[in-house]
Amino acid sequence: MIFHFDGEPIAARPGDTVASALLRVGKRAVATSPYLDRPRGVTGIGEEESGAFVQIVSGVGEPMRPSTRVEVVAGLVVRGLGGRGGLPVAPDPSRYDRAYLHCEVLVVGGGAAGVQAATDAVERGEGRIVLVHDGPLAMAVPDAIQVLQRTTVTGLFDAGHAVALERRTEHLLAQPSPDVARMRVWHIRSARTVLATGAFERPLAFADNDRPGVLLAGAAATYATRHGVAWGRAVVVCTDDTGLAAALALHDAGTAVAVVADVRTGLVGDAVRALAERGIDVRQGWSAVGTDAAADGGVAAVELTPVTPQGVVLGPGERVPCDLVAVNGGWSPNVALFTYVGGPVTWDATRVAFVADRARPHLRSDVTVVGSAAGDGPMPANPPATFFGAVANGPDIASRVFIDPGRDATLADLHRALGAGLRSVEHVKRYTTIGTGADQGRTSGVLAIGLMAATLGVSPGEVGTTTFRPPYVPLPFAALAGRDRGRLSDPERVTAMHDWHVEHGAVFEVVGQWQRPHYFASTQDESMADAVLRECAAVRTGVGMMDASTLGKIDVRGPDAATFLDRLYTNVMSKLQPGRARYGVMCGADGMVLDDGVVLRLAGDHFLVTTTTGGAARVLEWMEEWLQTEWPDLRVWPTSVTDQIATVVVAGPGSRDVVAAVVSDLDVSKEALRYLAHAETAIAGAPGRVTRVSFSGELAFELMVPAWYGDHVWRAAWQAGQAHGVTAYGTEAMHVLRAEKGFVIVGQETDGTQTPDDLGLSWLVRKPVDRAGNPTPDFIGSRSFARADTRRPHRKQLVGLLPVDPQRQIPEGAQLVAVGADLSTTPVPMLGHVTSSYRSAELDRTFALALVAGGADRHGERLLASFGADDAEVVITSPVFLDPEGARRDG
């Protein structure tokens, strides 16, 4: 099997990673360091890798991956990372997905302890056991266990929620179908979680310890035994018995182990005897202080020297030529996931490691830790040394002692941090960047803590660890997005008439999640401004049709429905007769306008409430909240029927003729169907309801039918309208038409700080006592109207604005200041702002709505509208620009 590394073909065997294949062919220098441009090679064998990062070039590509985690497949092309990776420029056509998984037991880690824990769970009869693992499993797994291979748990959260990343295709020999998602993010919910996340071997600090060929001892031994890597001549530098075992394994796999330097003295046990039997030179009380480079930048020799247990170099040393320096500085249990859910860690001086503190279970999830992740296991023959490295005295040596090679962070950096007075390990981490690289301090973290402790003369436990945070391994954004891309990234809600709109040139705007026609372009060249003028003119002079299906609709029913609506709306709904409709506003408890709409009374105990398009869900929740928490005694039930009902608005002087053409059994004359009356009837053969209501000031009808009939009724009305030159209009024309009449839009004229008074709607607010002198019932917000600030005379009030230059359109949001105000000295006293601004076909000029301090009493005054570097004078007017007496609404 051939793959390409830096343009060169490399032979690999099944089961190889890029790291093992490169080591087998003797490629030690793989990448260069991010800042210092030093050659770097493989340091580990798993996700603890801190040196040999590669960029994947083949396929979709990936900017930065540890070579120890990239399985070789034919055709793979990688290159060593020169410093930092770069995102591929080409768009990624791959699929990514997400899946949810629920289980009783989640085991993280497929080492011996993990597989054992899963097997035990099977034997105990526990159901739904999931084992998550990346890399080869330690042993066979019973069939009852669901194994997620090539999967890494990246986060563990409260209540048994785990997030894991599965790489599904990159190991496949055959090119997978494009339908197969390349990566999957699993969201796992487990009743209990077992962490068998293992431990990471630690490196040691000594000069030039970052040279290619300096590897963690366990990794070096596994490359020899599992992958058949021939190392040549090795030196093992260790602080615990696993280092001795690695030396034995290397020797038995055919590596010439020149020297074993162990910082400890008085070693006993089988491993020491076995090394002696093989004639291997074991130097007790020795460690490494430096390395020499070969031509490839890799290690050529290691300088060994006698040291004290505290790391003081005693000398004289000896330079031992070698190709491999196998380093063992002890082991750090992998407690990251445990700490994510609040698990405490504590320093175990006997095991020389931070271990999960299982005696203090303050966990937010049912989590147990097993195996080496918990520091479990028999005590070795020789206790491990509390030793983090030996550094000779000398100029610039500390700057060649690498603590976090992934960040090019050195002992000199650590000394600088401590010299600057930093004592918290969190501060030191941020000052030095140690532990912030792709490996997140898996090997460098405890090494830095140990060196800090040694410098400060305290124990590593007193220094403590930094905080581990998810994600445990880098998660590509594409994987996080999953299928939430393109059209699926945010739902597009459409009405029953949507396809007609598309067929007729609608340009859509998003309102909430709804797709609403913004305007209909009659030709490809028609501009929005021209289209809106055309649509407005049609409604004022002929007939227009608009899709109002997106308005929120709530069926409110029950014996107390009228009482309930009286409390919700500022005006009285209980006096509304069945068959009649009324416009109303509702306020929050603060007395500020929350939503508005038309309320239809269908029967004594039955209302149909309409809300703004964006306010539908909010109003329904508002109703339920009051009914469930404050007024459970009221027998009334609100039910959303927003999607149930499609609404066609037919507006304009010609609208009665059009409606009459589609309604056969209802008299829609002015006398029979008065303004704000409604009636059930068949509409073009569909069961429906016709309401006389107008948001434009013109004669207008709302045709409501079950949404199944929406498309048919729209098309029927359109057909009937052809004789009258019917024009479809969108939300922009609707906005202009209502603004000409001074009708507010909640959310456009309001921002949650306007009372009905401010909007000129005081006629909608019931008085505290009625004409007969009886107190009227309270409504939500009524008490807030007594607040001094709510009654203050100079609150901002709704006004109309006419720019002095009738062709000038003031941008919405423009600030209003006094004419002659000194704009160069800030802050300029602000008198108000523009909320809506349009060009009117009917008025043949521009106009605007605005909120102006004390505006109701300032009609006729001039203000300066200021926007950006520009400004324009405007005249304050009534917000009703058209037909103030309402003569047009009856047609």
Partner: protein, 214 residues
């Protein structure tokens, strides 16, 4: 009412193969939301646990089902051609004083047989007096996921545990980013009820989630 004039949100769209997984709209399913108050406990046979459903025997030949969506909150659904469901069920509210035997005959399972009810007759009447019955047939559309791999598809877009969605139970939640009600109709059939305006999104999402299994 002219049923030929109707158009469902997905126009009866269908995708895939039920041998693995198929996704198909079941257009025009009638549905009524019932909200009740008072002494429903005495009514005994309405499902009271959220997620529980009951099949109803009706005087017509159609299968009907009532799902408990929340405390005193039910959805009655039926088969597409069951054109009388809405009127019959909404009559439960309109005819508050309907005789007990007539109501029980309408939905046998809803109330206990009269002779088993020890409460006075007027209380039993109250037990089936719903506060509100609203026709929501067009509010949602029904998209069925059919075939042995239905759960593989749903687990991509449905965060809740599908193992608890046993036959004849229902669950509410988010399907991707849209509110949905799932009813496990049979071993290898789940009905997804989504709001009509979200139907195209839900269908696109489900067919996308099913890509690997078809």
């Amino acid at each position: 009412m002219t049923v030929e004039l109707r158009r469902s949100p997905l126009a009866g769209a269908a995708w895939g193969d039920a041998a693995t997984v198929a996704i198909a709209e079941v257009p025009f399913t009638p549905a009524v939301e019932l909200r009740g108050h008072g002494s429903l406990q005495a009514g005994a046979h309405l499902p009271e646990d959220v997620g529980e459903t009951r099949r109803l025997r009706s005087r017509s030949t159609f299968a009907r089902r009532v799902c408990c969506l929340g405390p005193q909150w039910w959805l009655v659904t039926g088969e597409p051609d069951d054109l009388t469901l809405v009127d019959e069920v909404t009559a439960l509210v309109d005819e508050v004083t309907a005789p007990v035997d007539e109501v029980t005959a309408l939905v046998d399972e809803v109330t206990a047989p009269v002779d088993e009810v020890t409460a006075p007759v007027d209380e039993v009447t109250a037990a089936v007096t719903f506060g509100s019955a609203v026709d929501v047939s067009a509010q949602r559309t029904r998209i069925d996921i059919i075939g042995p791999r239905w759960a593989d598809v749903l687990r991509h877009v449905w965060p809740r545990d599908l193992a608890t969605l046993t036959v004849d139970t229902c669950a509410q939640g988010l399907l991707g980013r849209a509110q949905a009600l799932l009813i496990r109709e049979a071993d290898d059939r789940v009905a997804v009820h989504v709001r009509a305006s979200f139907a195209r999104y839900a269908y696109a999402l489900l067919t996308d989630a099913a890509t690997e299994y078809a």
